[in-house]
Structures are given as C-alpha cells and as structure tokens.
Symmetry: C2
Subunit: 270 residues, 2 copies
DNA sequence: CGTCTCATTGAGTTCTGTCAATCTAAGTGG
DNA sequence: CCACTTAGATTGACAGAACTCAATGAGACG
C-alpha cells in the first residue's frame, strides 16, 4: 500500500464555487472574472431554460449538435454504444457541467448524452457563443479552460481503465462523484445521494454489473462505506482516498487581460 | 461481427493539412483562418526552437509547466506513473501535436510527457499566448478547438480501454497512428514507421507486453498486417478498420467573426 | 397485487497478466 | 573487426481477475 515514488500529497478541501443559481454564468465565473458588461452580453446569447425528461437523449451519436447546454438540475451520462451491444459511459454529468463538449465542435457527435433523471438546462447555440467570443475574448478563454478540464478528466479515466484495479476504480468513482456534487452543494461532508444505477456505473467503470456489485460489497465489508438505498456515506474517507490513490486536480484561473502584455512588448512592438 | 445499430459510415480520406514547415502556425490554421496581421502577432509570442533529447521528460507529473510547445519533429508520450510502478500512456504525440495540454492549465501537471525520440519543438509561454488571445480572440478559439479535439480523443480512448477487446485496441491503435502520421506526411498510403516500442504500446493500450505481442502476432497471422523491423504495412486496411470499428472523427472549423452576429442582435441590442 | 427495474449471489469459463526463458538486433569498446 | 553488452521482441506455462450466464431477492410503481 505504501508507494515508492513520493509522499502522498494532501487532499485539500476544494474551493466551493456555488453553481446553484445560474449554472451557465457560475461555471464561466469559475474560470474568469466577469464584469456587468460581460454578464449583459452573455445573457443575450442564453436561450430559455430547457427541461428534459428522464431517459431522453440530449445528444445522439452520429447526429449534429451545435449547442452549449449548462446543467441547472439533474444528471446525465455521456456514452457510446458499440456494435456488439456493449456500452461505455465516458463520464457522468452533474449540475454545472456542460453538454455539447465535444459534440458541438464535431461534424457529427461521436457520443450520445442521455438524461439519467429529469433535467433543467440553460441552452445557448455554439455559433452565438462563438460570436460572443469574437467580441469578448475572455469567454473563449473560459471555454478553453472548460475544454481542458474535460480533457484532463478523461485522461484520468484512461489511467483508471488501463492500470487500476477494479476496487480502486470503484472507490475513485465514488470519491470523484462526491467531490463534484459537494462543489455544487449536492452532498454533505461525508455522503451523498448516488443518482446512478449499478448498470450505469459498471458501464462507466468498464466492469460487469456483478463484478461492480462484488466490489461495492467489499467496500462495505471492509468498513469503508455504507450504502442505504441510494444514499452513500463514507465511513473512512481518508482510507478510501488512500486505497484508491484519489487526488483531485486544480485548474488555474485564466490570466486576466493586462491591456498590453509586457513580456510580449519587450520582444515586439504591436 | 455484424452490427445491430446502423451501417458502418464510410471512412473518408481526411483533409491533408500539412504541418511540415511551421507546426505552430499550421496547427492553428487547421482551425481558423489567419491573416498576415495575425501571423505577425503570433510570431512575436513564439520563442526560439527548442531541441530535446530522446528519453528526456518535457513535463513532469507534479511540477508546474506553463508553456505551449508544438512538436516540429520527433515523438513523445504523455503518461502517468502509478505508485505500484505501473505506467499508463494516455496518448502519443506526433509532429503537429501540442505539449502542455492539459498540464499548463493546471496548478501542477498531472501527467508527464517524455520524448521517445530526439525532438524539435516550438515553444511559447502560456501567459504570452493568453495575452495574445485577449487581443486577437481567434487564437483562443483555435486553442479551444485544439483542447476539444484532445478531449474527444481521450474519450475515445476510454471506450477502447473499457469495452473493446485487446485485438481491437491494437488494430485501432495502429490505424490511429497511421492516420495521424499520414496527416503530417510521415506515412505512405498503407504503411508507416512505427516509432514506439512494444513496451510503450502496451502501456498505451493497458495490456501487458506479452499479450500485446500475441495480438500483433495474431494480426500478422491473420494476414492483416506485416511488420518488418519498425515498418508496419497494412495488407488489408479495410478489414482492419472493420475488425476494430475504426472511424476517425472530423472537427468543424471555428466559425469566423462576422462583425455583428445577426441572431444575437435580433434578441438583444449591444 | 402484479409488474418491472434494479440489486445480489453463485458456478463455471475465458481472458489476460505474471514470471521466466530465449532470441534478435543494435550498439560499444577494445 | 569482433566479442560483449543491452534493449527489445518472442514464446510458453501457469495463476488469477473478471466476465457470462442464470437464478433469486427486494423495492417501486401503477
């Protein structure tokens, strides 16, 4: 259990941006500062709220989708269905997350996104948003940061699937979901309501349902978690993080515009 | 082998942007149009070329890295080393690819990047690039597109690792590398020089070296490929793509600035 | 109260990893 | 120019992890 490389960095309590009110604005604000003029322009491109029923597909693999939709309420999963009938969930979406990355940037979507629960979304067309970006570059930088965050979290999933044991994957999944829910005020210190079925989780973790079930059973037997209905409580969150080498990453902020950038000016006149 | 979902979309020959001369400029041009004023500003932020020797780490997990480096020549791998000594390569980098996504956007890098061969890079500090983005938004949009492409390809890797058989993964890997090399003029119609060792590939595919070897042997035995030294030739590329359900995706272009965006103006005065 | 979804458990099989040995090719130094 | 070293490729035997299939149990909902 003890590593050979370097000491385990402490898992710091994350900053708590609250994406409760207006997820679209809040998520962008997590990366850049927005003045009132920015907010004004932003609201102009946001279409009305959009409700989606449980089990409906928001994005369908193979079809065009050109919107950025911010989740106000509810849960979704991004997945691909294979020819042999297997399904891989590449990630789960919680309030504050964005539907339409990467789908909107592609000719045709390469993944589907399905609503796991009833949902409320704030929608904006990608073209409108890009137009806004041309006028106010900080929005495109915020979008960069969102896309990079997405990439970083997929990369971490690749490591999970490739080189971590099934029990580690399950533990990490629970910790990851907890931390993301906590960030948007949907979890307590040590527990949360798990909105996913075991079938969904097994598809997310690349396991079979029976095997996932066995691993969950093991985590309970080892006294690390309790599960009552859909309620998950961590009994020993530290041990769980240790067992699974869980360690959230921190994005930087977008560097603000400084009028004229000194280090560039030194080398070249604009 | 035959699917239940829908017909296999044709694998179209991809557009051939040539990233041979100036990878930094060429890669951005793949996503947005750059005028001469743009190019002028861009060159101002690009630092001198940088050479890196084989086996050197460009980025080290846990340390800060705040540069965008475009690969002019040579190959690299982005990976994470686990406590138990296992390694997962999350992707391989070829000429035209960007080092520093996602590392530069994070507090501290969460992956290492190592040079597989001697390399030549074009380097630019992220801060300078962001400053440029504030002045010329199209650069930040190009960066978005790059980040999204990165995310999409990781997501595809997650599917690979989670739900595809080992032989499919190997075949897809070869096809993917071939298509990326072909795009930058490093491959012929049906073959290429594979710059990776089996150890590296097994770490990329989440397999053990012996098993990867068995699968390569099988692909040869089935008459799908030949391998002579580091030279790989596809004998039946179609069958290979069919077997592995390989299908490259296409990014859209960044929508150009249109001065004032009609659909926004209709809803709101700026 | 029946139906349906979801969770749980067991038995047997398959895939894939581990360990270890051998082989090849490419350098390297004398 | 050759013996020596070393990294990488290949092969085989075995063990263990995880899947499949199948049956059962438990709630939720109409």
């Amino acid at each position: 259990m003890h590593g050979l490389v370097r000491a385990i960095p402490k898992i710091e309590p994350k900053a708590q941006p609250c994406w409760c009110d207006d997820p679209f604005v809040a998520r962008l604000k997590a990366h850049v500062d927005l003045g009132s003029a920015d907010l004004h322009s932003l609201r102009a491109v946001i279409e009305n709220d959009h409700a989606v029923k449980k089990r409906r597909d928001l994005v369908i693999d193979g079809y065009q989708y050109r919107k950025l939709s911010f989740i106000k309420e509810g849960f979704a999963a991004r997945y691909k269905l294979l020819r042999n009938g297997k399904r891989q969930v590449v990630n789960v979406l919680v309030p504050g997350d964005v539907v339409g990355v990467p789908s909107s940037f592609l000719d045709r979507a390469t993944f589907s996104v399905t609503a796991i629960t009833d949902m409320k979304l704030q929608v904006c067309s990608l073209d409108d948003f890009v137009a806004l970006c041309h006028r106010r570059p900080k929005f495109s930088l915020a979008l960069c940061w969102i896309a990079v965050q997405e990439a970083a979290s997929y990369a971490e999933r690749v490591v999970d699937m490739g080189r971590r044991t099934s029990i580690e994957r399950v533990a990490r999944f629970l910790l990851d979901v907890h931390s993301r829910l906590a960030m948007v005020g949907r979890a307590t210190e040590s527990g949360f309501d798990l909105p996913f079925s075991q079938e969904l989780m097994s598809d997310a973790l690349g396991l079979s349902v029976p095997h996932l079930n066995r691993m969950l059973t093991k985590l309970r037997a080892d006294g690390l978690i309790t599960i009552d209905g859909h309620r998950v409580e961590f009994i020993d969150q530290n041990a769980l993080a240790m067992l699974s080498h869980f360690q959230p990453f921190k994005l930087t902020q977008v560097p603000p515009a400084t009028g004229l950038e000194p280090s560039v000016l030194l080398r070249h006149q604009t």
